[in-house]
């Protein structure tokens, strides 16, 4: 039998970590774009658009991410598309993150004082101009800490894509365990790698939040 050193295990896990990072980035950026659309729908003047975004968010926040992955993986196949795991994984994660980011950002936009809307309206700004020049620049300041915080959820969410067969850190952990029969070491290392990815983000989210509060107190 081949003996595996810790370094052999770690090297294979780190190689797979690239895919975890790539998938997280794609999901986060894609989710951000769709989330922005959702945000605009959610605060639209038209009632049915607001309702549409609300039900979208309710649906994606009220069902397990794992189920969304399964449905993307098997559901797209019904349309005659041969779905590779990475496509289903990316699609489901983008739609899922969009629901959360849209809702986080809506909270930030609604936290902006009503007077700001009225003032910009009295300057004859259109709704898009109001958003672009008055509301979003202020809302973005509040939005940074929770958005950074949510990126941790995205990274942890990518672990589920191993279940539909996308080979990233978690899947690599399973594969390496099956080869080495050292689940304790392997899953311990996998957990540590995830921790190394997520902890700096969690910490910076906390620090940003504290900084922002200080800025607020001075106003």
């Amino acid at each position: 039998m081949i003996e595996f050193t810790i370094w052999d295990i770690l090297r294979n896990l780190l190689l797979a970590t690239r895919w975890t990072i790539l998938l997280s980035l794609v999901s986060f950026v894609g989710g951000g774009l769709v989330g922005l659309v959702l945000l605009f729908l959610r605060i639209s003047k038209r009632k049915w658009l607001r309702a549409l975004a609300k039900y979208y968010i309710e649906l994606f926040q009220g069902t397990p991410l794992l189920m969304q992955l399964f449905i993307a993986f098997f559901g797209l196949g019904l349309f005659g598309i041969d779905v590779p795991a990475w496509l289903a994984a990316g699609l489901a994660l983008i739609l899922w993150s969009a629901a959360f980011l849209g809702e986080i950002w809506r909270g930030c936009v609604e936290a902006i004082a009503k007077g700001q809307w009225e003032a910009s309206a009295s300057l004859a700004m259109g709704r898009l101009q109001q958003m672009r020049y008055v509301i979003l620049p202020q809302a973005m300041r509040i939005a940074v800490p929770p958005t950074v915080g949510f990126s941790v959820q995205v990274i942890k969410g990518t672990a589920l894509t191993s279940i539909i067969g996308f080979v990233e850190l978690s899947k690599a952990g399973t594969v390496v365990t099956n080869a080495t029969f050292q689940p304790f070491t392997v899953y311990g290392l996998v957990a540590l790698i995830y921790f190394a990815l997520c902890w700096p983000l969690s910490k910076s989210s906390q620090i940003l939040e504290r900084k922002l509060n200080v800025a607020h107190r001075n106003h």
């Binding site: 069902t63 449905i71 942890k156 969410g157 589920l160 050292q182 689940p183 996998v190």
Partner: protein, 223 residues
């Protein structure tokens, strides 16, 4: 799209689905009660507890919050037996739920405790209460009331996260869906139905937690 939807299997496989729902409910019931209890203890340690215990609890909370639930589950189910601790699927799933929710809820509850006005502690002390009695009778319940909405959302999130326990063959709702899928090849329908059930469970759980909050917080009930 030439796919014919077919839900006939629902009749044949409904015992599996019902069993799956029961196990999912059991998981979240144990997870919520024991998890919030563990979270309360950890929150107490981090906010008011002995100095030596604070870093230990902080390490636990940070480790759990920054790793995926799936890996925690695998570590408990596959990793711990090599230390001689053998667990059944359901035991491992329950432990993972409690450990996971314990860490998340401790952060939420701690925020509630730290928002308690200092005068409340002083009032408790002036009534000759020990620090523990002050915490138990004066601080804890209003703290929980303050953060109950956030805590409820977290419980719902953990319930949805429990779908993952099917990966260690704990026979929850997702396990039932996978089982049906492998028997009937009706993947889309099986996952559609179970997703709908999860959505219903999430809505129901939110209602239940709202009611529980209404019952245990006397000031709210009196209003």
């Amino acid at each position: 799209m030439n796919y014919q939807f077919e839900f006939g299997w629902l009749v044949e496989y409904y015992p599996q689905i019902v069993k799956g729902i029961a196990i999912t409910i059991q998981l979240i019931a144990v997870g919520a009660v024991a998890g919030i209890a563990l979270g309360t203890v950890c929150a107490w340690v981090r906010a008011l507890g002995p100095a030596w215990a604070k870093p230990v609890v902080a390490a636990y909370v940070e480790l759990i919050r920054n790793t995926p639930f799936l890996i925690q589950l695998f570590f408990i189910f596959f990793g711990l037996p090599s230390l001689g601790l053998k667990l059944s699927e359901l035991q491992a799933a329950n432990i993972a739920m409690v450990v996971n929710l314990g860490a998340y809820s401790s952060e939420i509850i701690r925020a509630g405790i730290q928002a308690t006005p200092k005068g409340q502690f002083e009032a408790g002390a002036s009534l000759a209460m020990t620090p523990f009695e002050t915490f138990r009778h004066v601080v804890l319940i209003p703290s929980l009331e303050r953060i109950w909405p956030a805590l409820s959302s977290q419980v719902v999130i953990v319930m949805l996260g429990s779908a993952v326990v099917s990966q260690i063959a704990a026979e929850d709702l997702t396990f039932a869906a996978n089982f049906i899928q492998s028997r009937t090849f009706r993947a889309f329908e099986a996952y559609m139905v179970s997703t709908a059930v999860y959505l219903l469970l999430a809505i129901l759980l939110r209602q239940v937690l709202g009611t529980v909050g209404w019952l245990i917080f006397p000031r709210r009930a009196a209003r």
